[in-house]
Each structure stands twice: as structure tokens, then as C-alpha cells.
């Protein structure tokens, strides 16, 4: 697939009453990529996904999906986008067969052979009612509905939140298969960073309605480092690198930085950090609450 852009937001914002659920969001997600949306509840993840599939309209800015506007070109765009909402809502009283029939009636590009093959591979009888399925099975049926549209873009809102570890792995495996075989572009939100580090190649950190960090996960891991050293201030480091988090103990200072090239003062010890630590730092976790106290040596000499 070429390096085209599957989802593009420019100054995108959504206001509900006095609250901005999403604000000034600018990002580009390449076609064929798998993007993780992370952030606390209320950060704007669902809002961004809903704007992208046309379930709501922007208050500010623009969003383009596969080169089209989800609001103005809905008719042309929607058959090309699969969306699985939180809790994967399905009609609980329907059987799987009826659920697939609904999918066939509602979607012009429906691939019935694909849908049946998937259900068969999951070992689910077509006559079984949705209500009788486990959470993991319901999630797989919802995913089958979305994939049988043969979408170019798949949007998933916290798809694995309610699943046990085995069901979660199976669900993600199905998505990775679709990426591998059909080159589907995927955007999914989740709180489980270890999963995201496995399956995603792009990361968007949202906090308070704003995109705090957008980039490739490999680049993000390569550019973030934890610096530890004897107690001192971060000013010199901050002149060159972006200091994301600064914390102090009596004798030690730790700085989590987004590095600007391989430039470090030898007084700092350098540590690689995993994605979860990086995400937590951007979300403000682990910052020293109070201002840095006076270093011990200075205090002693007073």
C-alpha cells in the first residue's frame, strides 16, 4: 500500500455544551497502519472515533477519512469504514444467523462467505442466540460484522476492555490477520498498553481533549529516555531535550525526556523505558507534587 493518509484531522474539535471533548486535534494516520488511541476516560478517544465515522459533527476544524468527509460524503464513505463501538452492541435476542442477515441487508459490500467462514472457524453454531454467547464470542461476532463489510478502515472503541486474556489475544489476532491479509488500516482505543505495544505501530496520546503525542511507536520508544543522576535541576537538559516529567528525591533527580538526538551529559545515567511508562508520564502520573526541596548539601551549609 502507498504512503497515503487514511485519517487526517486538522484543528479538529468537538464541544458538548461548555465542555470541549476534543480540542485542536491535528494528526495524520498513514494507510495500512495500526494506531493506538490512549488516554484516561473522558480524554476524547470516543469523540475522535465518532467524528471519524460520522456519528457526530465537528464543532471546529476538519476530519478527512480515506480522503472524504465523514459528514458530507457519508454515503460514499460508510461502506468503506467498519466501526465497533464500546461493549460491541448487538441485538441480544437475534441468533448469529439473523445477525449476519442484518449485516448483509445493511451493507452493500457485504462478503457473506467471509462472514460464515469466520463464524465457522470460531466454532459458533449459526442458530445460537447472541445473549447465550460469552463476552469474548460476542466481541468476535461484532468484529466479524465489521470485517465482513470488507472495510478499508476499521475503528474500534475499547474493543478488548471486557474480555479475559485468552479472548483478548484471540480478538487481537483476528485483527492482525485482517491487517496482514487485506491491508486494513486500524484505529483502536485501549487502556492495555502492553497489547498496544504488540499490535500497533502508531500511537496517539489524548489527554483532556488534546493530542499530547502523535507518532510511530518505534520512534517514540527510541526517542524517550529516563535520565537519573545526582540531584540537580533540569534546566540544562531542558535547553536541548523536551523534559516530560521531572521528579526528585533527597539525593536523586529523574528526568523523563523526549530526546533531540543522542546528546546527553555524562552526569546522567541513561535508561530505556517501556511504552507504559512513557504514556503515564504524558498523562501526568509520577510528577513530584511539591516544588523541588533545597538540596541536602545546601541546606546543611546554611
Amino acid at each position: 500500500m502507498s504512503e497515503s493518509i487514511a485519517l487526517e484531522a486538522d484543528g479538529l474539535g468537538k464541544r458538548y455544551g461548555a465542555n470541549w471533548a476534543l480540542r485542536d486535534c491535528t494528526l495524520e494516520l498513514p494507510a495500512g497502519s495500526v494506531t493506538a488511541l490512549v488516554g484516561p476516560n473522558g480524554a476524547g478517544k470516543t469523540t475522535l472515533l465518532q467524528l471519524a465515522c460520522g456519528l457526530s459533527s465537528p464543532t471546529a476544524g476538519t476530519v478527512r477519512v480515506l480522503g472524504l468527509s465523514p459528514q458530507e460524503d457519508a454515503h460514499a464513505l460508510l461502506p468503506r469504514v467498519g466501526f465497533v463501538a464500546q461493549e460491541h452492541p448487538l441485538h441480544r435476542s437475534f441468533t448469529i444467523r439473523e445477525t449476519l442477515k442484518l449485516g448483509r441487508k445493511l451493507n452493500p459490500g457485504w462478503d457473506d462467505a467471509y462472514a460464515r467462514e469466520r463464524i465457522e472457524r470460531l466454532g459458533l453454531p449459526l442458530g445460537k442466540r447472541i445473549a447465550k454467547l460469552s463476552g469474548g464470542q460476542q466481541a468476535q461476532v461484532a468484529l466479524t460484522l465489521a470485517l465482513a463489510k470488507r472495510p478499508e478502515l476499521l475503528l474500534l472503541d475499547e474493543p478488548v476492555a471486557s474480555l479475559d486474556p485468552v479472548a483478548r489475544r484471540e480478538f487481537l489476532n483476528t485483527i492482525m490477520e485482517a491487517v496482514s491479509e487485506d491491508g486494513v488500516t486500524v484505529v483502536l482505543s485501549s487502556h492495555i498498553i502492553a497489547d498496544l505495544q504488540r499490535v500497533c505501530d502508531q500511537l496517539v496520546i489524548l489527554s483532556g481533549g488534546r493530542a499530547e503525542l502523535v507518532g510511530s511507536i518505534d520512534d517514540i520508544l527510541a526517542s524517550h529516555r529516563l535520565l537519573t543522576g545526582a540531584r540537580g535541576d533540569a534546566e540544562e537538559v531542558a535547553r536541548v531535550h523536551a523534559v516530560i516529567r521531572e521528579s526528585h528525591t533527597g539525593r536523586q533527580t529523574s528526568l523523563l525526556v523526549r530526546a533531540n538526538g543522542h546528546v546527553y551529559d555524562s552526569r546522567w545515567e541513561l535508561h530505556e523505558i517501556d511504552l507504559e511508562e512513557i504514556v503515564l508520564a504524558y498523562l501526568g502520573y509520577g510528577r513530584s507534587a511539591e516544588p523541588a526541596p533545597v538540596p541536602i548539601e545546601e541546606a546543611a551549609s546554611r
Binding site: L172, M176, H241
Partner: protein
């Protein structure tokens, strides 16, 4: 055939973990010239990882001359691996052994020696902050 594994909580990007495992397997003789690497689909299925990540790892190994992709068949360990001249390695190892003996003689334990080594291997600062 090599079986990949992942350190879930690692600061090392996933593609690089795969690259390092192939390099190590070649170094240790677990993978030999002509051996086939798992297909992208197999790695995706067994590790539940992004196919782009596997492709990126294989591209990197190809660029280093360690493997070659054969269209429609798969990815194989190169018949001619770029190697360090054995004499050079032997000499370097002997030098390192002498250094380790000296470190032990001056009272360092293994952990301290490893820490010292890791510190020295770290990429040198290109220029200093401020």
C-alpha cells in the same frame, strides 16, 4: 526454525527485538545459511503482532545482509554472511579476558564488571548538554 519471543515490558521496539533474536541465533549457529525464517503470517499468528513490524524487522535484516527475501517463497538466512575475521575476534576476546582478569584481581565482582562494561559500551555522548 527460530521461534520468536517478545519481552512485553521492554523499552526496545518490537521490530528490534526480532532483529536482535535473528542476529543472536545466527551468531550462536541456531540459524545457518539457507535456513528459512518464519513467514510474516506465522509470526503474526504466533505472537499477535503487527505484520508491519515483522516486515520492518526482515527489511532491516536484509539491509544488513543477514537474510534475503525470495519472492513468493520466504525469507532465508544469507548463504554468505558478513563475518568478522576469526583472527580479529580471537585477539579481541583474549584482550577482553586479560581485562576481566585484571578487574577480578582488583576485587570487582561479576555484577560490577558487567555494569562497567555496559557503561563503556553505551553510545558516547556526541556533544555535551550546555
Amino acid at each position: 526454525m527460530i521461534a520468536f519471543h517478545l519481552e512485553a515490558r521492554s523499552g526496545v521496539p518490537t521490530y528490534l527485538q526480532l532483529v536482535q533474536q535473528v542476529r543472536q541465533a545466527i551468531r550462536l549457529g541456531v540459524l545457518r545459511p539457507g535456513d528459512q525464517l518464519p513467514t510474516v503470517k506465522e509470526v503474526v499468528g504466533s505472537l499477535t503482532i503487527n505484520p508491519n513490524t515483522v516486515l520492518k524487522a526482515y527489511r532491516e535484516l536484509d539491509r544488513e545482509g543477514l537474510v534475503e527475501g525470495r519472492r513468493g517463497i520466504g525469507t532465508f538466512v544469507s548463504d554468505e554472511l558478513p563475518t568478522t575475521p576469526p583472527d580479529g575476534v580471537r585477539e579481541l576476546r583474549a584482550g577482553l579476558q586479560r581485562w576481566i582478569d585484571r578487574a577480578r584481581a582488583s576485587g570487582l565482582d561479576d555484577e560490577s564488571i558487567e555494569a562497567l562494561f555496559a557503561d563503556a559500551v553505551r553510545p558516547p555522548a556526541v556533544s555535551r548538554v550546555a
